[in-house]
Each structure stands twice: as C-alpha cells, then as structure tokens.
Subunit: 429 residues, 2 copies
C-alpha cells in the first residue's frame, strides 16, 4: 500500500495542510487504489474521479481549509450526494440523482473533504450485485454499509459515511476489520438519507462514520453532529472530546452469551482480548449482562412488521429471513411493542449508570462466505433499540485470517467514552 | 392579600435566605390563604399543613438552602409526592400513595421548596369534583392542571408543577391569569408522572411549572431540567438564561386565525396588545402563519384513537367529546399518522428558524362557565405535537374581568427566548 493510504484521515488533513503531502497526490493515490481493488470488491457504485482530482487541485491551490482539507471520503448509496445516483439499492430508483448533499455529506465537504464516490448498500443487492470482503472476496462484508466498509478496509477511501438501523455500520466494520460508530440517536441529522427516515416512527436509524482509525470516527462525528434546521430529530447536546477522557477506574460490563446467540470461538477470543486490554489500561472490567436481552429480537420483529417499515429489506442478506412470514400487525400490537420498548429503555439506564461502558461481541460470527447464514446480531440491535452510542473496533483475527471486531457501548451522548475505550483497544491490537 | 403572598417564589426565597422573612411565616401565610380561598375553589385535594410548617421551622433553623429556601409550592395530582395520594384523578386509584417523589418534586424540595399539598387534576373530575376559577368560581379554570392554576392564581401557592399533553399547563394558566410553561419535550424527566407516560409512544406530554411570575417559571425550569438516570426521554441540552437574552430585532410571527378556530374578541385584543408590547420593546412582529395548522386536530385525534392512549379522558371536560365515537384505528393508520406528524415537525423548523418567537392566542375563548363548551385549543396542541417550548402569560382582561393569556413559543430547547418575551409582556401588562 502507498504509505499515504494507511494514514488516518486526520493525519492526512494535517499533512496536506502543512504541504507535506498534496491533496492531488493523496486523492490520486486513493483513486489508483480503488482502480486496483474494486474490480474484485465491487464496492464503489459511482466514482467521480475527475471531479475529485479537480477539487484536490483547487484545494492545493487554496492551501488551507478545514480538518479534512484535501482528504478523500466515500458515502453509502443510502445517503445523498448532489448529482450522484442515490438509489437506496433499489432498482426502481436507479435514476434518482438528488440535487443536494445530505447534511452529513455537506459538512464533511465544508471541512475540506473530497468526495470520491458512492458505495454499494447491502452485500448483494439487486442493483449493484455482490460486494466482496477485502480480506477474501468470497466472503461477505456484511450489510448494509457494505461497500463503504469494504473500500475503506481495502485502503480505497480514508473515511466514509454509512447508516445503521440495527448494525448496518457496525456489522460491516466488524466483518471488514475497520472501525465504525453508531452515534446516539439524535446526534447527527438524517437529512438526505434515502430512503427517508420518519423519526417519529423510527428512533433506531442513524448516520455515522466508518474509518480505519478510531480518531477519524471522532473527527468525523465532531464535523457531522448537531441540528441542521431541517431534521427535527437532531438535538444540540454538547459533544465531549474523546482524547480528553480519562478512563482508568471506569467500570466496564462484559457480556458474551445472549439468550438467542452463542458467539463463535474467534469472537469470544477477540472479546476477551479486548477486555484484557481495557483491564490493563486500568478500567474495571466485570461480567455483567444488560437487562432486556430477550426483548431484542421480538421488538425488532415487531418494528419490521409495522406497515411502513422498509427495514426487512435491509436484513434479507442470506435468504434466511422472509419478512412476509411475520404476518400483519394490529394497532394494539404496535402499542404493546412501544410499551415494551420503553420498558427496555428504562431498564437500561441504571445498568449503563453502573457500567458506563459495555463490551460485547459485535456479532455471533466473523465474516461468512457469501450466501451462508451470517449469524445473529442481537449485540448491535440492542443499542439501536435504546439509541445509545456504540463503536465497533477490530480486536482480533480468526485462524483463517479474517478480522474480528468487538463492540463498545456508552451512555447516551457519551460517544467520547466509547471512542476513548475503542482507541485503547485499537492501540494494543 | 398578605404582602408576602404576592412576591415571586424567587423573591420569597431571597428574602427568607436574607432573614427578612421567615419560612415559618411565609408557609403559614400561604396555608392561611388556602384555608380562606379553597372552600370556594376546591383546588387542593390533600394538604400537608403540619408537615409543611415543621419543614419551614427546620428551614428557618438551618438558615440557608437552595433558591427556593422555605418557599411553598404545590403539585398536580398526576405527579407523585412521597406519601401523598396520587390518583391521577381516577377513582380506581384513590388509595394510591407513592413511596417516592417524582424527580421534579424531589428537585424542587432539594432546592429548599416546601410542599404544601396536591391539587386537583381536571376541572371537574369524578374523584375530586368541580374546581372553581378564582376569578369567579362559577367559571372553569380549564384543565387538566386545574387545581394547580386555581390555587396559584388565588395566592394559595407560590409555585406549582403541572403536566401538559396538549395544553394542560397552558390552558389553566390562560383561564386563571397566571403564567405556565410547556418545556421542550425531553427537557424535564417524567419520572413519577401518573399515569405513566410511555415516551416511545407519547412525545407530547411534559412536566412543567406554573406561577404568577415569569421569573419563577425560569427558576423552576432550571431546577427541574436535565436527565435523572431514570427517564430515557430526558436529554442533557444546556439551558440558556432568559435574563441574559436580548430580544431587540428578533422576528416574532403573529397569528390569530386558525382553520378550525376563530378566537373570541377578548382573545384577539389581548394578543394584539401583547404584539404591540413586543414591538415597543424592539422586536419585529409580523403576521405569519405556521405550517401544518390543518393537521393539528387530525393528528391529535389519531393519537387519541391509539389503543393505549389514555388521553381522551383528559379532554372530556365539557361533555362535548366522546372518544368512543372516534372508532378503532389500524396499524396502517398509526403509521400514516406518524408520517404526517413527522412532516409537521419537518415543516415547522424553517418557520421557527425564520421567526424564533411565535405569538398567538392561548385558546379560542377565555374561561367559560362550568359545563359550557370551552372552545378550541389548537394553539397549544400545535407546540405539543412538535415538542417546542411555549409559555402562556396573561396579556389582557375581558369586559367581565376574566383574565386572558397569550402563548409565546420558541425553537426547541430555547425556553430562554420564550421566557424572555413573556417577561416583556408581563412587565407591561
């Protein structure tokens, strides 16, 4: 890999601003890398090579900018970028080209970021086909921010935006060996997400960053967070600096077994390794199981059964799940589910109060071959249901050489805690 | 009225702390006032006179405390206070005596406030009977924080807590001639509200303060705001100081007519008077109608039709509304309503961005005689649906001598703006 490709987005921005690197050469190197790896991955669905190079040249000429000055980034097909196709992976929308950037895209650009292109949503969708895992293209990158995680892991992009309703940022980060953040619900405006997210009905879906380096998740979050005057679900809660967090003495709940899932041995190993790393850094790791785990799948299935929920499509990746089999839902069922959901949220607060970090597997299994059952994802679904921030970061490797992530969750609005802990795991990997 | 009874709660706290008044004499004066006025009002449903006097004596002995040091307050029957009956106005719960204070009650007490007792919920409920309007007991105080507004307006309490799903703080404040605040949804924990509020289903209901003085709304809000570790819907957004706000030049949208309501002439007069007051203070008042007004009643009715919504009971005050006539609702209807609701919230943001204050009537009519149709309340329902802060403050008087309030709404989390504008209206009334 060309040296620049392995730097963090933050470091690239610093070096370009200091003229140690030019934006032109950095963008060129990433485009070359895309050309090299994407034929096998099929991760990038639209590339704007010429425009990106022109913007890079202009950035070099301008000579200064925001923290992403001249830094290339990519965006999932479910998030609008002006003039580029954004079909949400749906053939019916193959000609959809939004006129405006999503808020998060516009903010990364305003910080100097240079958009390379759009990436496939879903590991095998009818519009774009199958996306390969960069560690072995026969394996799935998981979904639904599939192309985003794959191209970042392959070094073809420094930073990306994905979205996550139940694990769609975190599952691909886990399977591709990179870092991904599900921000607190309400932290990042959803303006420009396609399909449209109706926040009064869906408090699970968020936009968040993916990157090879945890510091880039923190940088991107700082840039994309905060109300935009268009999304009523975005809330102006101050964001802490993860680099200023001191975690020694912080209690970490560790849990692995789930009533509906028994994790793969490589997942168990990686999670214990991360626990040992955090303990060595002075955190107090103790086994403790969050409340309400048995509610995670029923609540999620109830949500999918609701009439205008598009979500089943997102999860039908291995042919193992047919939403039609769920059957219809009554208004009584909707209300009952909302009350159960509320109870889960209530029960979680004292738990997270006692354990401000929760370490768990990211998923039941590492990446599986395309077409095989990817296993359960109750670990990521849990934090989607309560709306808490959660980072997935690589913490191990299977005997076959595939990456294994772990998930670290924190109290609402405390992305800084989760990112600080993920930084520790990342440094000692 | 004994002079102390007319002071603001904030001023009472200052004078008691400075030993210009004793908590014992202040609490005694308010209890005397309750004994004098409540036989005609029937506002107070349980009084803790002896305990309050003992706490006042202890406060005098202690000699220092929070900003409410020694200040008497009251609480609506829908909000728990340890050991006192909290029946939610429902005969089936007449023996319910919660063991713990609601968060908001505990916080006022922790700030030195002395709880006098509980007040009737609803202007005419089956458990407590009819509550009189202190300006004329034959008239209704409106609902549902009926007893709270009545006893505060009558000088029997310095400060109170109510709750508001569609106007339940603001309507009684309007009809009784005091001030009431609906905080931003998520500002004040709902822990200890009875009936239980399921925030995943109900983003309308909030706990907020009522008082004779706007500065007391601001003081109480500062004390009761912020997450409590128990209510997952409470959000840690910083709260601005209304006294530090400079409003000159701020654009105010003024609207009176509503597709479903034509305000009473006295209401029109009071609203125009408030507009003139704000204009004289340098604010830029212009007629502008918020979007989505035609959605307000349909969305509210859809909400009431949802199976586990208790809300119709709250509004069946004049015998004019029978929730059974609404008929059942399907899951499809629920989802469709949530999408319409979300659209209303989206459409409001650019409007409130252009006009950070919205001045309107609080209701179609001033207080009406018990049993008569109180008129429409779309003005307060609107801000409940979008979750924005809104203050009702007295701005006029009918030819019969009844008070007339106006409503001032502000962007989410900007209670400081609404309170600052209400202070201007209050000072020049």
């Amino acid at each position: 890999m060309v040296p620049a490709l392995d730097l963090s987005a933050a470091e690239l921005g610093r070096r370009i601003a200091a003229r140690e690197l030019s934006a032109r050469e950095v963008v060129g190197a990433f485009l070359d890398r895309v050309a090299e790896v994407d034929p096998a991955l099929n991760a990038v669905v639209e590339l704007r090579a010429e425009a990106a190079l022109a913007e890079a040249a202009a950035a070099d000429e301008r000579g200064s900018g925001g923290p992403l000055h001249g830094v290339p980034f990519t965006v999932k097909d479910w998030i609008d970028a002006a003039g580029l196709r954004c079909a949400g992976g749906q053939p019916a929308h193959r000609e959809r080209r939004p006129a405006r950037d999503a808020t998060a895209v516009a903010r990364l650009r305003a910080a100097g970021g240079i958009l390379l292109g759009k990436t496939a949503a879903g590991p095998d969708n009818p519009l774009y086909g199958r996306v390969g895992n960069p560690h072995d293209p026969r394996f799935t990158p998981a979904g639904s921010s599939s192309g985003e995680a794959a191209i970042i892991a392959a070094g073809g992009s420094a930073l990306g935006l994905g979205s996550d309703s139940g694990g769609s940022i975190r599952q691909p980060a886990h399977c591709c060996g990179i870092a991904g953040l599900r921000p607190t619900t309400g932290r990042v405006p959803l303006t420009g997400h396609f399909p449209f997210i109706c926040a009064t009905a869906d408090p699970r879906t968020v936009i968040g960053p993916l990157a090879r380096h945890v510091e880039d998740l923190a940088l991107a979050l700082r840039l994309i967070a905060g109300p935009d005057g268009a999304d009523p679900s975005a809330v102006p809660v101050p964001l802490g600096d993860h680099a200023a967090v001191r975690l020694a003495g912080t209690r970490v709940a560790l849990y692995l077994d789930h009533p509906h899932t028994t994790p793969h041995p490589a997942v168990v190993r990686a999670t214990h390794a991360a626990a040992a790393t955090l303990a060595a850094a002075g955190l107090v790791v103790e086994e403790a199981t969050p409340p309400g785990l048995a509610d995670v799948y029923p609540l999620t299935l109830d949500y999918w059964r609701r009439p205008e929920s598009d979500s089943p499509d997102e999860w039908v990746n291995g042919g193992t799940f047919d939403p039609a089999t769920l059957g219809p839902i009554s208004a009584e069922d909707v209300e009952r589910s909302l009350f159960t959901w509320d109870r889960l949220r209530r029960r979680m607060l004292p738990f997270i109060g006692a354990h401000p970090l929760v370490l768990s597997p990211a998923a039941e299994k590492p990446a599986v071959p395309h077409g095989e059952d990817g296993g359960g994802i109750p670990y990521t679904l849990l934090w989607s249901l309560v709306g808490y921030p959660a980072v997935v970061v690589r913490a191990g490797t299977t005997v076959e050489g595939l990456p294994v992530g772990v998930q670290i969750a924190a109290p609402p609005w405390r992305e800084d805690l989760a990112l600080a802990a993920a930084s520790i795991v990342e440094r000692t990997r």
